[in-house]
Amino acid sequence: MLGLGADLLWADMNRLLAFLFHQGVLDEQFLQLQQLQDETSPNFVSEVVNIYFHESEKLLTNLRALLMEREFSDYKKMGIHLNQFMGSSSSIGAKRVRNVCVAFRAATQQNNRAGCLRALEMLEHEYCYLKNKLHELFQIEQQRALAAGVRYPAQN
């Protein structure tokens, strides 16, 4: 049976999740990810999210590098990066990030550099926010797992 700490942590986690859903940071795709997590893939969600972070950071770096070029004109390439970013964000349920990507993509299609810059900043902001929140979520999850001790294998 779960210890009291685990219960509290569970509640914390749910509260955080509810909050994120309410804010639109996450959507039901994230829930689907959680459902995919089971005994056969116990760390599925954190695995996916970590991969996502890793890739997204690369994408963001590329995007910024592209935009910061003096003679920036490769909107198409930005579009490609964005497409991938959009795809991965939507796959994990990062709704707000994805929405910013949509706006960003629109700006690239209009060859609107200023718009792209703004969108990039917003994207970075949203991404950071998401990352922090998800980290928080995972921490709670880990603590809960530890608190539950016997029941759950040590997770990392």
Binding site: Q32, L36, V48, Y52, E55, I80, Q84, G87, I92
Partner: protein, 665 residues
């Protein structure tokens, strides 16, 4: 879990254990996709590189049932992979993308995707993907059951599958050229009779191009190289008994047309570029056409390419075997009428044993804009500028056969449905033009999936006798709408209406033409109409062509901007008993009168209008058949219908649809 071979061994288990290959360069999506697929109880292999995927597929031909691939990948375009897989392995491919742009979706369909999913992929969607496999298999087995099966020894004569996609297109081009050269040779071998087992019983024996046979064929083609892949050599390489050069020739044509419209277009465009202009070609068209017709229509491609416009996006019309219906007219194809790039495909339904299966030449002219129009008539120049695109979809099962103009003998090539996917894709193709407003397209919706039932009834094109020539070009291009303007009687007059035809001639009227151009529909008694429906011919009216029709003027204006007038109208809509022959609901628009046809709609929709005296009788049938049409093509329609209906939603307004329904209960 089923064994590694085809799932149909244990139908009850299916789709459990269906073997899926997932390709996506994005690791996040790939992992999510993989897990989702595993959760659906599929057997999943993943790779993040398209090249690896191709290697895997080639190496283990029978180890996969379905491929899911991302569209945007760094090492290879997803569409290209799609093409290759469709060509070489004949597997259903589902595209995946974060970008749901209509154009992209259409492109996917044009390249042969059997589905296009948007990220994020959801479980519900993945749970249904197995249907694509079943559908394809079903058609395969249906084909096999129906016709004598050409059995081929397993060994491939050559495994020249190493050629990359790029090579294929060049090969295709050369192949086209080569085929043309070979036309004369093949003249004597007109006889189309490849029923190994039962030549006597069938007038047109069908060669069933099973998957293995097709694979051998592809291997042979690859091995030979496009420029050398002549039917004779392919035949030798394939080393299959009872396969005639004729079969190979028609299959070759169909192969390129069918399996990859894009490749086909490329090929045509390449050929076109080399070739003289269509007009010029037309000038010598008779001769060349004749030659071409003797071949399986590859020659036509050349003319088609005259426009040199083949663009990928414009690619749409490929007469597939399904399209060609049996036209009784011996000279279904009107040679003269082919202005730029008319592609005639006469497709003999595999099922048909009719003697008078005629080739239906679906002429798919390729316009300069890359749109295929049907330059049926002499109005080459018109056609050239014509943006009408005729997309002919042919039944996967049958291969298009080029008509020989001079040869009354219908050429029946039954294509084994080795490309059931093609059928699907063709269907999709059909849909595509619709949405694409850029080009008027005449689409054949020949979903004739059901070999038995369909027998490619209508020959949209053309061909039927002569009529074609004069109005074909105009007819085709102008799109059906023009026909609308024509008084029904006119239309009918022009059209070759056969009493027995269900399809009754569908008059295709080109705007330019004074008379309605009528596409004769095959007159399959039993379900010509249905066939019509299934093979809805959709003509998009060329704006320019509309001018001749007063009623269409307005429409013309409307559609001017849109280069496409995809109006498929067969027969005069006005006052004629319009028979709605749309294969799918969405596709069918019956234009009872011109006013009904919303110009915008017309632009977008291709609908087949059949006006036929007999249509009335068949109306009920059509509707019913349409709905209940099961034979083969219903399957095909399944996905197509979905696609079409979803697409069409934008185009067809509900009111219009109900309007139709009102008229045609």
């Amino acid at each position: 879990m089923t064994v590694d071979n085809r799932m149909n061994d244990s139908p009850d288990d299916f789709p459990v254990g269906m073997r899926v290959l997932a390709v996506d360069d994005d690791p996040t999506c790939l992992l999510v996709l993989e897990t989702l697929l595993r959760r659906c109880q599929y057997h999943v292999t993943t790779t993040n590189q398209a090249i690896t995927a191709l290697a895997l597929l080639r190496e283990h031909k029978d180890k996969f049932d379905l491929v899911i691939s991302d569209v945007h990948m760094p090492d290879m375009d997803g569409f290209k992979l799609l093409e290759l897989v469709g060509l070489e392995m004949d597997l259903p491919v589902i595209m995946l993308s974060a970008n749901g742009d209509t154009k992209l979706v259409m492109k996917g369909i044009a390249h042969g995707a059997c589905d296009y999913l948007l990220k994020p992929v959801r479980m519900e969607e993945l749970k249904n993907i197995w249907q694509h496999v079943i559908r394809r298999k079903k058609f395969d087995s249906k084909e096999k059951k129906k016709t004598s099966n050409l059995d081929k020894p397993t060994s491939d004569s050559g495994n020249g599958l190493g050629s990359s996609g790029a090579g294929n297109s060049e090969q295709n081009e050369k192949l086209t050229k080569k085929r043309k050269d070979q036309d004369e040779d093949e003249d004597e071998e007109q006889e189309n009779d490849q029923d190994n087992e039962d030549p006597s019983t069938q007038k047109k024996p069908r060669v069933v191009w099973s998957v293995e046979l097709h694979r051998k064929f592809v291997a042979a083609v690859n091995q030979l190289g496009i420029d050398k892949a002549v039917p004779k050599k392919i035949l030798d390489l394939m080393n299959v008994e009872k396969l005639t050069r004729e079969n190979v020739a028609s299959h070759l044509q169909a192969f390129f047309l069918f399996s990859s419209p894009l490749l086909y277009l490329k090929r045509i465009s390449c050929v076109a570029n080399q070739q003289a202009n269509m007009v010029a070609a037309l000038g010598g068209a008779d001769a060349s056409y004749l030659r071409m017709s003797s071949v399986s229509g590859v020659g036509h491609l050349q003319t088609l390419s005259g426009s040199g416009q083949l663009q990928n996006n414009g690619f749409r019309s490929f007469p597939s075997s399904g399209i060609i219906n049996r036209l009784n007219t011996p000279a279904g194809l009107n040679v003269h009428g082919f202005p730029s790039g008319v592609l005639q495909l006469s497709q003999s339904q595999n099922l048909n044993h009719n003697d008078h299966l005629k080739f239906q030449s679906a002429m798919v002219p390729v316009n300069q804009n890359g749109i295929q129009g049907m330059p049926m008539s002499v109005g080459l120049d018109q056609l050239q500028n014509n943006k009408g695109v005729i997309s002919v979809h042919f039944d996967a099962k049958t291969f298009p056969i080029l008509n020989k103009l001079s040869d009354p003998r219908p050429k029946v090539t039954t294509s084994g449905s080795h490309t059931p996917d093609l059928g699907i894709s063709n269907n999709a193709l059909m849909v595509e033009p619709r949405l694409q407003g850029t080009q008027g397209s005449v689409r054949y919706e020949t979903l004739s999936s059901s070999p038995a039932s369909q027998n490619s009834e209508f020959s949209l094109s053309m061909l039927d006798q002569g009529r074609y020539s004069d109005n074909w070009s105009s007819a085709v291009q102008p799109s059906v709408i023009q026909t609308n303007s024509y008084p029904p009687s006119e239309c009918f007059r022009r059209t070759n209406i056969r009493p027995t035809d269900n399809m009754a001639s569908v008059p295709l009227q080109g705007g330019n033409l004074s008379g309605p151009s009528i596409t004769s529909l095959s007159r399959q008694p039993h379900d010509s109409i249905t066939d019509m429906h299934s093979e809805g011919v959709i003509f998009t009216n060329r704006p320019g062509l509309l001018s001749s029709n007063a009623p269409f003027q307005g429409w013309d204006d409307h559609s001017q901007d849109a280069t496409h007038h995809s109006n498929i109208m067969f027969g005069s809509i006005n006052s004629l008993n319009p028979v709605n022959g749309a294969a799918t609901d969405s596709n069918l628009h019956r234009n009872l009168d011109f006013s009904y046809c919303d110009p915008l709609q017309m632009k977008h929709d291709g609908f087949v209008e059949l006006t036929e005296e007999t249509s009335l009788k068949h109306q009920g049938n059509i509707m019913n058949q349409q709905k209940s049409q099961q034979s083969g093509f219903s399957n095909n329609l399944g996905s197509l219908e979905d696609l079409v209906s979803s697409m069409m939603k934008q185009v067809i307004t509900f009111t219009q649809y109900t309007y139709i329904l009102k008229f045609f209960p």
